[in-house]
């Protein structure tokens, strides 16, 4: 079982084959390898085929961004048009509006929604009453398991002119109900706020896991030094979970263009496109509702390339800053 077993020629199990390999031709080696590992290949095959068919094959479909695509001629039969669709795209003010909205919603989410689970986890960690702590966590995780459609349903219901929010406002002395969901200026607060309601609790789990890894001796010595609980939270817990926070931040930045469009589609309406329409919803309308597949794909290429660049930049940045990266 020692590391240099293979040098002695007396290695256990599969190492025998390593020893024999150099004497065989390539074809023989492949044959032998397959004879030995065929079960592993059989297990791997379905997943590889899945990714080839449902992840990589569609990537080839991205070429229709450069083609005058017709459903009848198919992806390969349609004629090339070069960068024409990108020109259309970049001259379209509505596309730029979508880009702008995507960035604004993402940045606001970063500012408001990103810290929420961190603060929650820090607070959960300070709860001394175990019963309350468990109950609070159980309730906090729950909305994550509720469908986004239901959440949208509740939001629409709450913010409708006859909904509970307007009801409370009129009881507080307001005269006319506010049509929140038809007002562009209310879209972002409602969208980001309800997202926090849905996900902040569940996302706190990751930070709680990180907090669980903090060494108790740090707290003990801080206690001896007379630190208050707030100081311990601020000076010990927070710095200790910083690597986790950074990783989550990189993921977030990498996904900057990925606003939860499924949710936007549920909440927005033409009246609020001005602030609500994001790149993916624009693609959805252009592509799947208006059948402008090629232009919509061009927007998708734009989206994917920028997103990919963001991921790589974010990862490189984090490696430089903290030596932790995703790869």
């Amino acid at each position: 079982m020692s590391d240099n077993a293979s040098h002695s020629g007396l290695a256990p199990g599969e190492d025998y084959s390593d020893y024999d390999l150099p004497e065989l031709s390539l074809a023989d080696r492949i044959r032998q390898n397959f004879a030995q590992n065929w079960q592993v290949y059989v297990m791997l095959a379905p997943m590889v085929i899945y990714f080839l068919v449902f992840a990589y094959k569609p990537m080839l479909g991205l070429v229709i961004a450069f083609k005058d695509f017709s459903l009848f001629k198919g992806i390969w039969g349609s004629p090339w048009v070069g960068f024409e669709h990108f020109e259309t795209l970049f001259n379209d003010p509505y596309f730029w509006r979508a880009v702008k909205n995507t960035v604004i919603i993402s940045v606001f989410s970063l500012i408001f929604a990103f810290p929420a689970p961190i603060i929650l986890a820090l607070m959960f960690n300070e709860l001394r009453h175990q019963g309350f702590k468990k109950t609070a966590q159980t309730i906090a995780y729950l909305p994550h398991f509720i469908s986004i459609v239901i959440v949208a349903g509740i939001v629409v219901n709450f913010f409708s002119p006859s909904g509970i929010v307007n009801l409370l406002l009129t009881k507080l002395g307001m005269d006319d109900p506010i049509y929140f969901l038809t007002m562009p200026e209310w879209f972002r607060p409602i969208f980001i706020g309800s997202n926090i309601w849905k996900e902040a609790g569940f996302e706190s789990i990751i930070y709680l896991a990180a907090i669980a890894g903090v060494s108790p001796t740090l707290y003990e010595s801080a206690k001896v030094d007379g630190a208050t609980r707030f100081q311990m939270m601020y000076l010990i817990t927070l710095p200790c979970i910083l690597p986790t926070i950074l990783i989550m931040l990189i993921i977030r930045i990498g996904n900057l263009l990925e606003v939860s469009f499924e949710y936007v589609i549920l909440l927005y309406q033409p009246a609020t496109y001005e602030t609500a329409d994001v790149i993916t919803t624009w693609i959805y309308r252009q592509g799947l509702q208006n059948n402008n597949y090629d232009v919509a794909t061009a927007a998708g290429v734009f989206n994917a390339v920028v997103a990919f660049a963001l991921v790589i930049t974010a990862n490189r940045l984090s490696k430089r800053v903290s030596r932790t990266g995703l790869w």
Binding site: P46, M47, P58, L120, F132, S147, I150, F158, S162, R229
Partner: protein, 297 residues
């Protein structure tokens, strides 16, 4: 900041104030998380008129089950309900059938081109073709408007596969060696050694898959045309989000003991119930499982 009550009291007055402040803040957070559920439940069993008057804020008024009766009499609702169970159960099992053997293979040190295969999987985390090519792919495969497309086209998520692989990699090698000594092949090792040892990870991945299946509406909406195949979420979307905007429908229903609002509340309650039933059983697993995945992303 020494404690006035002596050595038994570890916390100073400032600390106790801090403790209370945290408790109160979290109490408020919990209350605001819970309130929408309470309101919806109250509205679902109140009369439509009471809800319209704005009497229902916390407790139900003029209790009636009319809204539930109305929804449950709708055949389309039950079809959609059944479809969602089908997509969730069959979909999750399909996902596991791809992910477990695949992740096992990826975790084998003797797999040739192992890092290549891993990159092949991980690349899809960072770069995906996007909505339109994925749709056209499904169309070209001729599986538009089929249950099969919903089940198979979204079976593997690279994140879940990597999570599973990480877990398999951490199973001590000695277990596998012992099994090989006894003459077990890879299938037997996976099924008899790795699967039983990896229960928390498998349950976590199964949970992730199931939640995605249960909640997903977008691709079902895009791929399916036939009403009989729609899952609950698409049915809900059509009713809750689209109809809620039109006023004439709302006034239509006001005459009965239920209103449009209480009907929606009833639908929401009915669709949350399965989640609430399963939730207590799965909670301990996902707490463990997410920690597992979160640390080793």
């Amino acid at each position: 900041m020494s404690s006035p009550t002596g050595t038994f009291d570890l916390y100073s007055r400032g600390d106790r104030f801090f403790g209370w402040a945290v408790t109160i803040l979290l109490g408020l957070f919990v209350a605001s998380t819970l309130y929408p559920f309470i309101y919806v439940l109250a509205a679902s069993i109140s009369s439509g008129a009471a809800v319209a008057r704005g009497d229902v804020v916390f407790l139900p008024k003029e209790i009636t089950l009319d809204a539930f009766n109305y929804v449950m009499a709708d055949k389309a609702f039950w079809i959609a309900y059944g479809n969602t169970f089908y997509y969730t159960i069959v979909g999750t099992l399909t996902s596991l059938a791809f992910i477990i053997p695949g992740a096992y293979a990826l975790s084998r040190p003797n797999l040739p081109c192992r890092s290549g295969f891993n990159l092949f999987v991980a690349f899809t985390l960072w770069f995906h073709a996007g909505m339109i090519p994925v749709f056209l792919n499904i169309r070209d495969l001729g599986i538009l408007d089929t249950r099969f497309a919903i089940i198979i086209a979204f079976a593997v998520n690279a994140f879940n596969a990597i999570l599973m692989r990480n877990f398999f990699e951490n199973v001590p090698r000695s277990f596998e060696e012992a099994a090989r000594m006894d003459g077990a092949n890879d299938f037997q090792i996976l099924w008899r050694v790795y699967v039983p040892l990896s229960k928390p990870a498998i349950i976590t991945v199964a949970l992730f898959c199931a939640v995605a299946r249960w909640n997903g509406y977008f691709w079902a909406m895009v791929i399916l045309r036939d009403q009989d195949k729609l899952p609950l979420q698409v049915y809900l979307k059509e009713i809750i989000v689209e109809l809620n905007m039109s006023d004439e429908f709302a006034t239509d229903l006001l005459s009965a003991g239920y209103s449009f609002e209480t009907m929606i509340a009833a639908i929401i309650v009915l669709s949350i119930i399965p989640v609430l039933i399963v939730y207590p059983y799965i909670q301990k697993y996902f707490q463990k499982g997410v920690m597992l995945g979160g640390v080793k992303e």
